[in-house]
């Protein structure tokens, strides 16, 4: 899951070297924290949050297979 978000984020931003993704594991839910360069924030969020929403949708499809919920947080 972490790799999935990292893969997508790196492909979307201007500055892939500054993409940092952490996974904070919980018992049933894990939180995926995404950090990107300031100028790239818009690229991973998208107009009206559409890109972020799409990533969350893909993430939840991926987590149904693992029977574990994953939440994406984009950190500034």
């Amino acid at each position: 899951m972490r790799e999935l978000i990292e893969y997508i984020a790196k492909a979307l931003v201007d500055d892939p070297d500054n993409v940092v993704v952490n996974e904070v594991m919980g018992e049933t839910t894990s939180v995926i924290e995404l950090r990107v360069a300031k100028d790239d924030l818009g690229k991973v969020i998208g107009k009206n949050g559409r890109t972020a929403r799409a990533m969350r949708t893909i993430l939840s499809a991926a987590s149904t297979k693992l029977r574990k919920r994953a939440v994406l947080e984009i950190l500034e």
Partner: protein, 259 residues
């Protein structure tokens, strides 16, 4: 599409890039002259690192293939995303005049489709975003799984035609449910060749309705609540109240002329 004699190919491994090049250029792998531009290391595919090769073709024949100079490989990228959802998937591609259809073949559970196609929509959106970012200039990319889009398209075409029939028969504007841009496209293009009506999207935001307007009905206001019964009354009352207006103006003016 490109006339140059050098073509870049990308694969998870050099062998894969060569195989891809051979297939696209219609040559046997042994016949290719190529140079390796980038070698991926271990775990590279998940980090977006790929093998890149540049192939020179000997003859001047420009090969026909749908990739472009950007080096973006939609099949490989979609495969990487899809495999994160389910490890055993295959991406099948199919081309027509202006679309490159990428089909995710999984276990048939619909995991790539999601409720009301939400997951499929999300995957397509992200893929298009990445393609745009990487400078993809090729055909329109369509992500498909388990014939969902095909089925949806047929349903929307039928719906467009029946609303058009109704619009023409009743000479009234018909309105669809809320549709996404791609779905609206299907409605508009289905009706492009129908005589005596036009179609128009209505509203703001990602989801909009499509109005199907028979000729002669264009001037009417779109019925916001389907309140067609009022349309005569509303139109008829306004001029009368408008006529009353000038009287007030004339009275104060009249004394001035007497002065």
């Amino acid at each position: 599409m490109s006339d140059s004699q050098q073509h870049e190919f990308i694969g998870k491994t050099v062998e894969e890039a060569v195989a891809e090049a051979a297939a696209k250029l219609n040559l046997a792998p042994e016949e290719l002259h190529y140079e390796v531009l980038e070698q991926p290391g271990a775990f590279a595919s998940l980090l977006g690192k790929r093998a890149r090769i540049v192939v020179s073709t000997d003859n001047g024949d420009a090969p026909t293939f749908s990739a472009n100079d950007s080096g973006f490989d939609p099949t490989a990228t979609l495969g990487d995303i899809a495999r994160a959802i389910m490890p055993e998937v295959e991406i099948k591609t199919q081309e027509n005049e202006d679309e490159l259809i990428l089909e995710i073949v999984g276990d048939g559970s619909g995991v790539f489709i999601g409720r009301k196609g939400k997951t499929l929509e999300a995957i397509q959106f992200v893929l298009l975003r990445i393609a745009q970012k990487q400078g993809w200039q090729g055909k329109r990319l369509i992500v498909e799984s388990e014939q969902y889009r095909e089925r949806r398209q047929v349903r929307l075409q039928e719906r467009a035609m029946s609303l058009a029939d109704k619009a023409l028969a009743e000479r009234r504007i018909q309105t669809t449910e809320m549709l996404s841009a791609g779905e609206r496209r299907i409605i508009h293009s289905t009706l492009r060749d129908r005589q005596g009506l036009t179609s128009r999207s209505l509203g703001n935001g990602e989801l909009k309705r499509v109005q199907i307007i028979p000729e002669g009905a264009e001037q009417r206001r779109p019925p916001r609540d389907g309140g067609n019964r009022n349309e005569r009354g509303r139109g008829g009352n306004r001029p009368r109240s408008g006529n009353r207006g000038p009287r007030r103006d004339q009275q104060p003016r009249a004394p001035r002329f007497e002065d």
